[in-house]
């Protein structure tokens, strides 16, 4: 068990570390025009960083997801992305299917 004081310090440190990036982003935004090339570059970097994070969450997950097997996560990933594309971009079906499918595959 971790002591209560350490937990509170960790929450404060985590919150500050997170807010710094958001606040710096708000400050930088004041100097960036929507039509500029730098805005387009930031847009690409934002999408690719996000994609990198999600790719990592599937292949090298943190938390409870790490207890499932990689092959199962990949099966769920490709199945649900296919459902999304085939269902003309319906978001509800693939997301609900992903939960049931991975629970089921982990259980067998």
């Amino acid at each position: 068990m971790v002591s209560s004081q350490i937990i509170i310090l960790a929450i404060i440190a985590t919150s500050i570390a997170t807010y710094i990036s958001r606040f710096m982003g708000a400050l930088t935004s004041e100097k960036v025009s929507v039509k500029s090339k730098i805005f387009k570059w930031f847009n690409c970097v934002a999408y690719s960083t996000l994609a990198a994070l999600l790719g990592r969450m599937i292949i090298f997950p943190a938390g409870v997801l790490a207890d499932s097997e990689l092959i199962m996560r990949l099966i769920v990933f490709f199945t649900c992305i296919s459902i999304f594309i085939l269902s003309k971009k319906n978001l509800v079906i693939p997301t609900i299917a992903s939960a049931f499918l991975l629970s089921f595959l982990t259980n067998i």
């Binding site: 971790v2 847009n43 994070l53």
Partner: protein, 233 residues
Amino acid sequence: MINSQAFFTGLKSLKGARSPALPLAACFVALGALFKDAGFNIQQSAASSLFTYALPGQLVMAESLLLGASVINIFLAVWLVNFRLYPMTVSLFPLLEHKSQPKWKYYLSCHFLAVSSWLIAKESYKKINAKYRIDFWMGIGTGTWLTAILMTVIGYLAADLLNKEMLIGLAIVNPIYFFCMMIGAMKNLAVSISVILGTILGPVIYIFSSEWSLLFAGLIAGSVAFLFGEKNG
């Protein structure tokens, strides 16, 4: 001060088939249960989602605590994993800028920046009058933020009722939903290359450097995609 119509239009994005409420609920319930496991009390769990509100960073914090990492190390690890919020803010806030709006709204509401709210705002900001886009954003953010806090508490309380398979099922919803949303956003060459290359480079660079992988993958994939986009279209 805040245009209520724009604010509530934003808040209402929690309803409907494209709502992020379901995936947000799923992953924060799983997070709440993890916090209980890690020895947090209910107030600490709620406070974490209230003040941090960024799931990957909160996961890193909980896992680092269990491994006995120092607060400085937690700070650095979280900063690196949540650094994505910087380019995400810069690629959204200029779209919400209006000269008549006070700066405090931007400084305060940047706290709402998360994958869910960002994707929704990018998808729908054009429908709102430029003057009130920041109020619209505050509506989206308030809704997603409160959902996250509430669901962390519910996850904490329900931890004993959820077995491992159920928690694993809940945890996969988040990346699947956001991948679908990103595929939906792949409407031009630059964004498409950003998403595909980022997805590949994220895990590949992780093999060499776990902490710096997101930063490097984002910068390399994003810059390549930008150059391709400039050249071809």
